[in-house]
Symmetry: C2
Subunit: 140 residues, 2 copies
Amino acid sequence: MNETVGSMVRLTFLVQNLFADVGQGCGLTVAQSLLLCSLNDRAVGMAELATKLGLERSSLTGLVDRAEQRGLVARESDPSDRRAIKVALTPGGRDAGHRFHDQLRVRLDEVLSELTATDRTHFTRVLAQLVADVPAVFSD
Amino acid sequence: MNETVGSMVRLTFLVQNLFADVGQGCGLTVAQSLLLCSLNDRAVGMAELATKLGLERSSLTGLVDRAEQRGLVARESDPSDRRAIKVALTPGGRDAGHRFHDQLRVRLDEVLSELTATDRTHFTRVLAQLVADVPAVFSD
DNA sequence: TATTGTTATACTCTATAACTATA
DNA sequence: TATAGTTATAGAGTATAACAATA
């Protein structure tokens, strides 16, 4: 395996493990962490949310069910369309999402702190180029 | 969210999606792809394999069961310890693993082809530094 | 008819706890 | 006693297909 490719896969698993670990510390599964990150700024309909998360609508039903049972999100009815449901963060969900977000930033910054300032600047620029077409995971 | 951190998370999801997509094209789940990659060069005992994959032994039992039902791996007894089981690739599992490996390399190379040669060299060096402590996913 | 969301069902993946067989 | 592996059980996550309500 090509060296750059192998390193990219390893970096991926490093970040995924960090993501899962930080989530666990906040009482969140990976899927729940992504759900909360998708709701940071506004209530979102089930269909739009499913598209954003890359899930079937039926899969999202279960994910939202479990998150709702844990008090992280709430379903709201939409006055303008009686078929539609909007999913919104509860105060507890917002707290958990913020803690997750902050801690992930700290943990990833630790990883990046090994780099010199020059390397980090360069790395940031190249990363931005590589992920230009990838939708943002976080709303900020 | 800090820009470098956000880009790293996005790169992670890009690579993970690629990993899952290539696996699906080879008839493999993500867990099965990782299992095959861990067996590339030799038969491995269940306990060692569980450690390598970061799973409980009982979780690995099920993963190997399903992979065995699909003809990807086989359990072999160990003459030197009658408690032990070694897991080995079948010819079909070896084929699937090679196809997965080759296609993933191609797909990731496509992503990296956006970079100039200079950027890629620099990126490779920085990546190697970041993942120095992460165990290799592939055996080569 | 098309869209929104849910239900029913099935499978994969994972963990914890209890167990068997062997060292 | 300690180790290797399995079984039993539970829960999360996901998909497909069929459905109900509304647009």
